[in-house]
Symmetry: C2
Subunit: 227 residues, 2 copies
């Protein structure tokens, strides 16, 4: 369902060239549940942005559900995202002036869902992450972990077939974090394809597949027999 | 050096009243190194903001180095902060249009330090967190963990006597995180007072003192014999 071939991502900053992804080859099948682990600055978020159709590679090929998005323009990328993909950002990317409810409804507006149905599904998603009583607040009235959970609720509200989560439990205590991981496992069992980024080995040990990245290269990629 | 007596923090949001801090009594001596741990939404950041003179309580008393800041105005709070305190925010609060170097120099501008000395000390601080080669980049050109390290460099650049760090390793892999904690331990041994918030038990187990908060109350507060 996802296929990266010889993918490079380079940033030029004045004199400097940063090679964020240094020759990535990666295949993820429908229904898989994989964790990407690696040190700070190793290329995890950059890789996720390519997988999530938020950016294109400097060179190489990116196929998502058979569609070649390697050189897609902003509209095409946005189309791909809205129809197939849920993305949880490392920095949440909530709209500060909108309420929790409005933030979570956003993906459905793009999808042309009726306002009654939007409200119902948004509230259900917000409930699922344990924040039903905060639906009327704005992000600035929430704690870091509460914002993270709203970002998760928003990513899941369209029941996307593919979910990308960039450090979804980084701001959560172990109990709340475990609840979120249980939610992902449930979605995986229901057939969604899930790729999550973590810097926490304990979390990477729980997913069926473990992909390790270092300095923009995949250095390990195996299936956890016990996960 | 820090004394909180019967401290409450309440937020009114329309009909709703959120009690973020529900009767906090806390004393921290000069040179102590303490971790505050607790679930998401339990009041950790709110408590840190009061300790760090970024906010005042709804009721109760806050003494910092003998100064009563419970009802201080913005200027007084800002004075306290710039002279004594280094604060690492859970959401970094870097200025996106400024370079890493400029971000780290900021506290010294308020302190009236000469531009040559500012540059030297900022570069030293940036080097300490392993980002010497990124001093010219802006935050948006950095990874989550790199931004977190810049926020730490900025908090330390004035060699503050008191350091508050709100989840300083949340975005860091274990190796980089351990290096940052080693840095804090070193500063503690040199006499700084350090309070860090974490949701990670392993980290709270490493500091001499462990303060547990739940629903805005301190439920546990003891010294780690093995730390
Ligand atoms: N827009 C950009 N311009 C320049 N360099 C960039 C840009 N975005 C990312 N980088 C660099 O690319 C490298 C990989 O970044 P990335 O965000 O993918 O790392 P990461 O593995 O997610 O790190 P973390 O665990 O800290 O979040 C880093 O060195 C980063 O500084
Ligand atoms: N400006 C605000 N208005 C309303 N409620 C607020 C405001 N700031 C914080 N709160 C609420 O106060 C409670 C404590 O928030 P706080 O940020 O201190 O939690 P925290 O322990 O730091 O959580 P986390 O681990 O998720 O960062 C939360 O329920 C939060 O929603
Ligand atoms: Mg990242
Ligand atoms: Mg917090």
């Amino acid at each position: 369902i996802i296929e990266l071939t010889d993918v490079f991502k380079r940033y030029r900053v004045g004199e400097q060239e940063i090679v964020a992804l240094n020759g990535i080859n990666l295949s993820i099948d429908q229904g898989e549940y994989a964790a990407i682990i690696g040190p700070s600055g190793s290329g995890k978020s950059t890789l996720m942005h390519l997988l999530g159709c938020l950016d294109t590679p400097t060179s190489g090929r990116v196929l998502i559900q058979g569609n070649d998005v390697s050189t897609a323009d902003a509209n095409r990328l946005s189309e791909m995202r809205n129809s197939h993909i849920g993305f949880v950002f490392q920095s949440f990317n909530l709209l500060p002036k909108l309420s929790v409810l409005q933030n979570v409804e956003l993906p459905m507006i793009y999808a042309g869902v009726s306002s009654r149905e939007r409200r119902e599904r948004a509230l259900a998603s917000i409930e699922r992450v344990g924040l039903a009583d905060r639906a009327g607040n704005t992000p600035l009235q929430l704690s870091g972990g509460q914002m993270q959970r709203v970002a998760i609720a928003r990513a899941l509200v369209n029941s996307p077939r593919i979910i990308f989560a960039d450090e979804p439990t980084g701001n959560l205590d172990s109990k709340t974090g475990a609840a979120i991981l249980a939610l992902f496992r449930e979605l995986s069992q229901q057939g969604s394809t899930i790729v999550l980024v973590t810097h926490d080995d304990k979390i990477a040990a729980q997913t069926p597949r473990r992909i390790e990245i270092k300095d923009g290269r995949i250095v390990q990629d195996f299936f956890n027999p016990d996960a």
